[in-house]
């Protein structure tokens, strides 16, 4: 029935063309651009070979950025995947399933809000003089910890990561909830007859059966951590100094603030390589996980 090939192409062309021109072509262009010295609003371009790439290795900010991205990834995996898993398991428990809808809705709410809102809101909340975080610490007896969270190079990146956890735990929790709802209830009933309830059944039934989703959430959070931009740009713009710079914020800075588009493209290539490695690891791990599960 679907025979007319000419017609068929008409259906495919608009989408394919957009993806080709605006998704794939810019990627190739990024590689090409990284071999030149050029500016945003000037037609002059100089071919400089691998100079931009060599600079990556001697640039201390790249080291800072990679460290911050990695820190972001590790903390996000621990809190989002860890806490997300525990929260989902608790809400799936019979004792609390009555309240699941309520808590799920509230925990998920910040996920749909733009980070521009959340970032500015937390910036105000973390403000040393007029925020609400420091007074709160005093209130609960932790006044000694009160400080200028975003204004110090030692605490800035951690404060940003904290806000990011605050926003995203609900999303990861939701993914785990979906996975857990697919576990047949008789598994738990059978385990209960054998005396395994609560925490025991969490470790012996829930965790093994959401293994695949655990992998998905780890991949999402890690890749997200290396792509982070909004959070850092909105809250500190990479400062104070360069202390909270990440790959993308530093790329933005070199490209659009100091107008070294060639070097910024080289940073983008570095990012591409990092993300490619992560994706390959993901495919590898997912592959072995699946074959083990079947065999």
């Amino acid at each position: 029935m679907y025979k007319s090939q000419k017609r068929a192409l008409l259906y495919a062309v608009p989408g394919m063309a957009l993806v080709l021109i605006f998704v794939y072509y810019p990627l190739i262009l990024t590689f090409y651009n990284a071999f030149y010295r050029w500016n945003a609003f000037s037609p002059v371009r100089t071919f400089i070979g691998f100079e931009n790439f060599q600079r990556l290795f001697s640039d201390p900010v790249i080291g800072i950025a990679l460290t911050n991205n990695t820190l972001y990834a590790v903390i996000s995996v621990i809190f989002q995947c860890g806490l997300g898993l525990v929260l989902a398991a608790v809400l799936e428990n019979k004792m609390f399933s009555k309240f699941q809808g309520f808590f799920r809705t509230i925990y998920f709410m910040p996920v749909v809000v733009s980070f521009a809102v959340i970032g500015i809101l937390w910036q105000l909340a973390l403000h040393p003089a007029s925020g609400i975080v420091n007074p709160f610490l005093h209130l609960i007896g932790l006044g000694a910890f009160a400080q200028d969270w975003l204004g110090q190079s030692t605490t800035a990146i951690y404060s940003i990561i904290f806000v990011s956890q605050w926003q995203n735990i609900g999303y990861i929790m939701l993914l785990f909830l979906v996975a857990m709802q697919k576990i047949p209830t008789d598994y738990y009933e059978a385990a209960a007859i054998d005396g395994a309830t609560g925490i025991k059944s969490f470790f012996h039934i829930t965790i093994p059966l959401v293994k695949e989703m655990t992998l998905v959430t780890v991949v999402i959070t890690v890749i997200g951590a290396y792509r982070v931009f909004d959070e850092v740009f909105i809250m500190t713009e990479g400062g104070p100094g360069m202390s909270s710079q990440t790959l993308v914020t530093y790329m933005y800075r070199t490209g659009f603030r100091t107008d070294e588009m060639g070097y910024a493209s080289a940073i983008a290539v570095l990012m591409f390589v990092v993300l490619l490695i992560l994706t390959l690891i993901q495919i590898r791990v997912a592959g072995t996980g699946r074959s083990k599960g079947e065999g």
């Binding site: 029935m1 007319s4 090939q5 017609r7 068929a8 259906y11 495919a12 608009p14 989408g15 394919m16 957009l18 993806v19 021109i21 605006f22 998704v23 794939y24 810019p26 990627l27 262009l29 990024t30 651009n33 945003a40 929260l87 608790v90 809400l91 004792m95 609390f96 309240f99 808590f103 925990y107 709410m109 996920v111 749909v112 809000v113 733009s114 980070f115 521009a116 809102v117 500015i120 809101l121 937390w122 909340a125 007029s130 925020g131 609400i132 007074p135 605050w166 999303y171 939701l174 993914l175 999402i220 931009f229 740009f233 909105i234 993308v248 588009m261 493209s265 983008a268 990012m271 993300l275």
Partner: protein, 278 residues
């Protein structure tokens, strides 16, 4: 009826308390935001935790007039246009991928779905250059076209899954009745696919509405900015007028929270289908 043991009851109360405290840390900053928007700046700086003595609406009106109105309208236009274009192109593409088989069909599928793996962040520099050469830089189309292009792979993936699962009998019947392939697409496939179209549209709308980086880089004029970037601008102009700024934040967050509360089911289905958030 099974009786609950005292130990279990204590656990239940403790866990519920913890869940509730966590819920409070999520919801309190959001409520704080809405309430502080109703206070005067002086009140705010004398006590950042307090309630308004008199509820004043002026902050909300000021925030709206200072820029939120323009940003809001821009966001509505960019989001709506992008959503419509994304749904049209993706559904056509999914229809093509599920109903026709060519020699290179598999390759085309990999090509489209592979786009999901590519991050907009990597391309932002060269897209900027590309949009400049196409004379689209600093227009709304500089946002709409890349938004649509970067969403097509995921939305096509969502729709493809749905289209594959649809029963073919009705399409065959329509064909025998003399319906063209486009007629089948329009009058048979799309109506059946309504749920997935709703999910796709909502999901795409949420991403476009909140998108920040392209909005920052591809738009230069303040009058063309969308809400997320506009808020940064507002933060700059309202340096010390915190309560007006906070009112602006609330005005930007409330619509999307309303949409979420109203369409939770569809949104959640889409967000968990591919495990791809932004």
């Amino acid at each position: 009826m099974k009786k609950i043991s005292p130990a279990a009851l204590i656990i239940k109360i403790v866990v519920l308390t913890l869940l509730f405290i966590y819920a409070l840390t999520i919801i309190y900053p959001l409520i704080w935001m809405v309430i502080q928007g109703f206070r005067t700046n002086r009140e705010f700086f004398s006590d950042t935790w307090g309630m308004p003595q008199v509820w004043v609406y002026q902050n909300y009106i000021d925030a709206w007039n200072f820029g939120i109105r323009t940003y809001f309208m821009n966001s509505v236009f960019v989001t709506a246009t992008s959503v419509v274009l994304t749904v049209i192109t993706s559904s056509l593409l999914a229809f093509f991928l599920t109903r026709y088989s060519f020699k290179i069909s598999k390759l085309l599928l990999v090509f489209v779905l592979g786009g999901m793996m590519l991050s907009p962040q990597i391309s932002v520099i060269s897209l900027f250059q590309l949009l400049q050469t196409m004379n689209l830089y600093n227009t709304h189309w500089a946002l709409i076209i890349p938004y649509v292009a970067f969403r097509i792979p995921f939305i096509t993936f969502l729709m493809r899954g749905y289209f594959l699962g649809m029963p073919r009998e009705i399409e065959e019947a329509a064909f025998i009745d003399g319906c063209s392939s486009f007629g089948i697409f329009l009058r048979v496939v799309l109506p059946i696919a309504r749920p997935i179209i709703a999910t796709s549209a909502l999901l795409a709308a949420m991403t476009f509405w909140n998108e920040f980086m392209f909005g920052l880089v591809f738009i230069e004029s303040d009058s063309l900015r969308t809400i997320p970037v506009g808020l940064m601008n507002l933060r700059g102009t309202l340096v010390t007028r915190w309560t007006t700024l906070i009112a602006g934040l609330a005005l930007s967050a409330i619509p999307i929270i309303m949409v979420f509360l109203a369409c939770q089911k569809q949104l959640v289905r889409g967000l968990t289908a591919g495990g791809v958030k932004g």
